[in-house]
Structures are given as C-alpha cells and as structure tokens.
C-alpha cells in the first residue's frame, strides 16, 4: 500500500497464491451507504448516484478499470438490510450474491460497503454476508466525515472480530481505495472469512446484539449527529415554512427554466437554424436539399432547441436528489399519498418520474407490497416527464402571452406550466385512489422512511447527470426522431404527381399520403380543436412525446404556406387557443411513450397492463381535451 494512505487497512496473513483466478466481485451493503459512488470510482463508469436510499434497483456490471484490473468484473447491487428478501430490489441483490441470478456470474469475492456514520446498525448486514463464506473485504465508507464529527473506530480490532480485512475509505473523495487492489491481489486462492462468532442467522434481535457487541469491542464511537441537518430541517420541515418553501422551490424551478432557459433555448435555436442555412448552399437544390434541411433538420432542431431548458430542469432535480431534500419532500407529501391509499414509498418513484417514467417504474421495486407496487407503476406515466416539456414549451411560447405578476417573480407562462404539472399529479392521485379502492385494494403497509443527512452536491455528480441526460436526448434525436422525420418527409412527398410538361412534382401536402391519413383520422380529433397535422403529430408521438414537436417542424416545413415561418408562428396561424390548451392537457394525460410501455410490460410480465394503461390514459386525455377545448371556446368565444 502506498505511504500516502492515512487510513490503515488490516489484511490477514496471505496464504500462498493458487491458480484459481478471481473473476467476479460483488459490491454489497445497506441502502445509501455509497456502493454506487464506489462502483463509479472502481470502474470509471457513470452509474446514477443520489442521496436517498433505493437509488440502485438492479444489478449493474462493470470492468474494474479504475484500479487497473481489466480482468475483473464488478457488480453493483441494490442496497439491502438483511439477506431476507423483502422487496424486488433486495431479491436481486440476494440472488446475485448467492449466484442464483440467471445471466449474472456468481461472485467469487465480496466487497461489503458500510456507512461508518451508523456502523452499529450497518454491521447487522456483515453477519449474514460473512456467513455466505465468500472472501470479503469490508470497507468503512465516509470515514472522513465520521472522524470530523468526533467518531472513532479501531479497524484492526474490527478486522479481527469479523475475520476479514477492513479498510477505511471515502468513496466520494476517493481516499483509501488502494485497499481494493491489495485485497484483490491477495485473493488468488479464495480464503473465506473466519469471524470469531456469528449470531443466529435470520434473527434480527440476535443479529443486532451481535452487531452492538462487535462495535463495542472494537471501540466504535459513533459520531455526534450533525446539528446542521436538524437545524435545516427545523426550517424545511416547519409546519408553516416547510410546505411554503416546498412550493417556492417548485415555482422557482419553473421560473428559472422559463426566464433563464428560454433565452438560452432561443439562442440555441438560432444557432441550429444558422447551421442549416450554412449547409444549404452545399447541397444541390431539389429534393435532397428539401429532405435534409426542410425535412430532417427542421424536425430534429425543433426538438433539440429545448435541450438547454431540459438540462436546467435536470440540474435542479439533481440538486434536490443529491442534497437529501427528496426524502423530506416525501415526508411533507405523505398526507396526500395516504389519502389516495398509495404506499408512502411510492412518493420517491413518483418524484423521479418528473425526469422520466422509465427509471421511475424500475424504482418501484423498493415497494414491498405487490399491489401497492402495481398501483404505483400504473399511475407513474401521469407524472409530467421531461419529454412533455418540449411540447408544453412550444405551445406555451406560441399561445400564452408573456404577462408577469408580483413584480416579475411569477409569469403567466409559469402558471400555465405549473397547472399542467398539477393536472398530471391530480390525474395520478385520482387514478391511484380509484385503483386502491377497487381492484388493487390491500392492507396498509407501514411507511418507513429514512431521512439521510444533508450533503453538499458535488459538481462531479451533477456534471455526470447532465452529460448523461444530454447523451440520452441527442441519441433519441439521432435515432427515433431522425427516422420519424425522414419517414414523414417521404410520406409527405408521395405519391408524385405528373404536372404539365414532363416533370414530376410532389403533391399538395393535403393530397400526399400523410395528408390523406391525416384527413382520415380528422373526425376523431376535430372535436378537440385539432387539425389533421396535429393528428399526425399525435400518431407519431406514440413513439415518444417529443416526436410531436419534430413532426410539427417537418410538416409545417414541408407546407409551402408555412415553410418560411417560425414553428411557433405557424402553429399560431393554424390553431385556436382552445385547441392549443386542449393539446397540452391531452399530453398531460396520454401515455405516448413506447419505452414506458416496454418497461411496464417487463416489470409486470404481461402486455395486459400496458394495454389497459394506454387505453385508460387515451380515453382520459381525449375527454379532458374535449372539455378544455369547449370550455375555452365558450369563455373566449
């Protein structure tokens, strides 16, 4: 071990190496102990990390390139309290650890990550993990914080008690990690841990008394609980200030997304348009130029424009998740959740659905009760995901005047946007209540929520989130959106018509295949105040919601009447206010996302649920849009 390492590691005498090679190492530990942060350090990958329990819900494998061991596979696992499976995510960890997970190799060694701030409790997991009998390295994470706060642990004594090497690390700062390659180097012949004593397996009381004894014998001094967290909570969970600040945070996020994000997006849009114009002379005039610029580029850039605003939203979600505020928000909202009959644990998946429903549906694995989990899965797509944002932004910018109230602190556009978010939330809660009082009725399961200590979010972790999100967004634009816009352009220019003379030309947009299809579905959407172009947009957006915007870009770009116009202006010409508001509310409720349907199918193991969900949400969206359109027409004439 290098001399720079301040944290001592105790390693038992090395038995002679044998030929049996180590291949797979599993990372295991209680929830929120920092496994994924360590995983990222050891592999150089970017697994999502945040400051609340239950971020990781499935196994993830990576090569340990971060410590120069390209030959080893590291498996990151969801956090567990014990080896008794109590929820889906815990079952994943336990199955992988015991080598019962199909498709995942059985681990040859274990790295047990424990949060040294709460070591006594965390040691309860050490007993069953050591009992599995795999070579184990125990890493005490966050020791820098523990020592700062006056805590102490004798890791040598702990290593003797546990019969396994122990090292103190800080995964966030990357200190003490040289214990890992050292351990791996010495594990060429699989020496199982030999603890002095172990409790009766499966008995929580016995395990706790064992853990308490071990921590006492090893001189563990728990750090003083931080006053900081309690002081912050005195304000953030105050009976009056708490909910008020919650509201201010939510409104503030959207105000910033609009007031700072809009100019950024406009600038980005201009840049994209200029790029298109720059390329125009390089392409031969004719169908190719039209396909590339008026078709594909116009469609893609109309979605790409929203990248700055989406990244801003993700920056805020990241800050809320990394500081530990998310768990407090769950606490504040618990009253609402229980009125609907939803499990208190459902709140965190629902909150993360504001980013995207796919990881949110996977996060429901932390809910133990099957029926509660199903209800949460079914209502998650109502939450306003970031893919709806481009549609909302486009329509709001086109139809809602930029009026500000309260000296510029609250704009009408923000209010409309908040209203749409609220509509989604109310849709989710009402559906949850319907489900929980009928087909998914179950006895109430207790709500046990751990409030993590507040932490300063690191720039690194926030940066990683934004990079990942930008990647997902760009990949989506380069695949789904590109192919849809190309297909649309082709369909909008077929069948070719024979004009006077000998030339062939594209038909009028209304006579093209896409135009005929649009007119065919027109009767179904006319009552909502949508024209046939919007209808085509709705059809294409079943793939993914943001496709709506690119379709509009392509269709209005292909129509000579609106070709020269900005998309917002074109829409403004072509739709009524009632139709625009109806379209927004349609998007608030409808389930237009094939990825979500695929993940629901995977998690529920049948196509029945996504099909029911799709139809239910479609009917609701149609009904709500109908009401909104007619109400707006009645009020504003």
């Amino acid at each position: 071990m290098s001399a720079c390492c301040e944290t001592p590691a105790f390693v038992p005498p090395t038995p002679r190496p044998s030929s049996q090679a180590l291949k797979t190492v599993a990372l295991i530990g209680p929830p929120n102990s920092g496994k994924s942060t360590l995983f990222n350090r050891l592999t150089g990958l970017r697994q999502k990390v945040a400051n609340y329990p239950g971020v990781t819900v499935e196994q993830r494998m990576g090569v340990m390139a971060g410590v120069g061991r390209d030959d080893l596979t590291l498996i990151d696992l969801p956090g567990i309290y014990s080896l008794t499976p109590y929820s889906e995510d815990a079952r994943v960890s336990i199955d992988v650890l015991k080598g019962k997970m199909p498709g995942t190799p059985k681990p040859d060694a274990v790295i047990l990550v424990l949060d040294s701030l709460h070591l006594t409790r965390q040691l309860m997991l050490a007993a069953p993990v050591l009992d599995v009998g795999l070579p184990t390295l125990v890493l005490l994470n966050m020791t820098d914080l523990m020592e700062q706060r006056g805590g102490h642990i004798d890791s040598l004594k702990l290593a003797r008690e546990l019969g396994a090497p122990v090292a103190q690390i800080s995964a966030t700062h990357g200190t003490g990690l040289d214990a890992v390659p050292l351990f791996l180097h010495q594990q060429t012949n699989r020496n199982a841990p030999t603890p002095l004593a172990l409790p009766v397996m499966g008995n929580a009381a016995s395990t706790h008394s064992w853990a308490a004894q071990v921590s006492r014998k090893t001189g563990y001094q728990a750090p003083l609980s931080v006053e900081g967290t309690r002081k912050i909570d005195n304000i953030l969970l105050h009976p009056i200030w708490g909910p008020l600040l919650f509201l201010v945070v939510v409104v503030g996020v959207f105000e910033v997304v609009f007031s700072i994000g809009q100019p950024l997006s406009d600038g980005f849009g201009d840049l994209l348009a200029r790029m298109g114009e720059f390329v125009r002379p390089l392409l031969p005039a004719g169908w190719l130029q039209s396909l590339v610029l008026d078709g594909a580029w116009k469609g893609i850039s109309s979605v790409l424009v929203f990248l700055p605003q989406i990244l801003l939203l993700f920056l805020f979600i990241g800050i809320l998740e990394d500081t530990g505020y998310l768990a407090r928000a769950a606490l504040i909202a618990d009253r609402v959740m229980r009125t609907t009959g939803l499990n208190g644990k459902a709140f965190i998946p629902l909150l993360s659905a504001y980013a995207c429903a796919v990881p949110a549906i996977m996060a429901t694995r932390t809910i133990e009760n099957k029926r509660d989990r199903m209800a949460t899965i079914l209502v998650t797509p109502f939450m306003t995901c970031s893919a709806r944002l481009p549609v909302y932004m486009l329509l709001i910018a086109a139809f809602i005047p930029n009026i500000v109230y309260l000296h510029g602190f609250l704009g009408l556009r923000t209010i409309v946007m908040l209203g749409l978010y609220l509509a989604g939330f109310v849709g989710a809660m009402t559906t949850a209540w319907l489900l929980k009082s009928s087909i998914l009725k179950s006895s109430e399961t207790p709500f046990i929520l751990e409030l993590p200590q507040y932490r300063m979010p690191t720039l690194r972790s926030l940066g990683i989130r934004l990079m990942d999100r930008a990647n997902v967004f760009l990949r989506q634009a380069g695949t789904v959106i590109l192919s849809v816009t190309l297909a649309l352009w082709v369909l909008a220019h077929l069948p070719v018509v024979h004009v006077a003379g000998s030339a062939y030309a594209a038909p009028e947009l209304a006579d093209s295949i896409i135009g005929r299809l649009g007119h065919f579905i027109d009767p179904a959407i006319a009552p909502l105040g949508f024209n046939w172009k919007i209808g085509i947009g709705l059809l294409s957006s079943v793939l993914a919601r943001e496709v709506m915007v690119s379709t509009m870009g392509t269709l209005y770009g292909a129509d000579p009447a609106t070709q020269a116009m900005h998309l917002q202006t074109a829409l403004h010409h072509d739709m009524t206010l009632g139709g625009a508001l109806a379209l927004m509310i349609f998007f608030a409720f409808a389930m237009q996302c094939t990825s979500t349907m695929a993940v629901v199918r995977r998690e529920t193991n049948s196509w029945k649920w996504p099909a029911i969900q799709f139809l239910y949400m479609l009917v609701l969206a149609w009904g709500a849009a109908f009401v909104v359109n007619h109400a707006v027409m009645a009020i504003f004439g």
């Binding site: 309290y81 014990s82 008794t84 109590y86 701030l117 709460h118 006594t120 409790r121 309860m124 997991l125 929580a204 009381a205 016995s206 395990t207 706790h208 008394s209 308490a212 004894q213 921590s215 006492r216 563990y220 728990a222 750090p223 609980s225 967290t229 309690r230 909570d233 005195n234 969970l237 105050h238 009976p239 009056i240 708490g242 909910p243 606490l331 504040i332 618990d334 009253r335 229980r338 208190g344 133990e368 109430e444 399961t445 207790p446 709500f447 046990i448 929520l449 751990e450 409030l451």
Partner: protein
C-alpha cells in the same frame, strides 16, 4: 381468567404472555389489560411510541407488528432497549420523525402505535449511549418489564 404462580404476584410488575404481549396482574392473580383511558396520568402514560411528545425520549420495549415489518424495523435500529426520541412531526402532523441509533426515521402514526416503549429513566440516559445501543443478550426485556 388465568392463575399465576405466587412469585409473579408482586404489585406493580407486569408479565408478558406467550405472545409477548404485556399482561398486568392484580393481587388476586387476575390478569387484565389497562384501557387507554384508565391509565394513570404522568410518565406511565407513555407506553406506545405514538404517545411520545416532541423532544421526549423513551426506551423501546417491543414491536407488535407483523414479522416482516418487525424485521425491517429492527434492521433500522428499532430493537428492544434502544433509546428513541421523537424529533418532529411532519407539517401535516403525521408522520413523526424519530431519532434512533443516530438515524432519523419517519413512521406513520399507526406504525408508531404498535411499538411499545417505556419512559426513559435517568439511568437509561446515562448508561446507554444513544448511538451505540446496548447488548440485550443477558436480558429478556420483552419477557419481564418493571414499571415504575
């Protein structure tokens, strides 16, 4: 009516039945459970975690919850003899945040209602460090509990 051996008939002592539920005995050996409304006033009133006032600390006695929930809570530090402090209530009045084992954990009223506690005596506060908890192997607190 149950007849209890003579040595168990000390006034003020309660014994648990085989389910771990605490029974009270009067001088003649009749067992009874005190109704909530008839419990004497004062510290003795605190017998369930849900009754703790904010800032009040108690000693955990037993969990009367389904086994899976009980196991989960025990792994989060809710073990017999641990010190629990009610820290704050959520803005809506429920759930309540409890400090246990150096952690902050929120429980809804109906869960806290099924966790039996006794008032902490000065001894408890001195002997037990709030963050480490104590070994329970020599004692069986769920079987025999002295009430002041």
């Amino acid at each position: 009516m149950q007849i209890v051996p003579q040595e168990h008939l000390n006034p003020g002592v309660c014994v648990s039945d085989h389910n771990g539920r605490i029974l009270n005995y009067d001088q003649t050996g009749r067992s009874f459970r005190l109704l909530l409304s008839k419990r004497p006033k004062g510290d003795r009133q605190v017998s369930m975690l849900s009754e703790l006032k904010i800032g009040q600390t108690a000693v955990l006695v037993a969990l009367e919850l389904p086994e899976s929930v009980q196991n989960h809570l025990m792994h989060m530090g809710f073990v017999p003899n641990a010190l629990v402090t009610a820290l704050r209530r959520a803005p809506a009045g429920d759930p309540t945040v409890f400090a246990i084992d150096g952690m902050e954990i929120a429980l809804r009223h109906e869960t806290a209602e099924a966790i039996r506690v006794r008032p902490a005596t000065p001894d408890d506060l001195n002997v037990r460090l709030p963050n480490t908890g104590e070994s329970i192997e020599d004692e069986a607190p769920e079987l025999f509990e002295v009430v002041r």
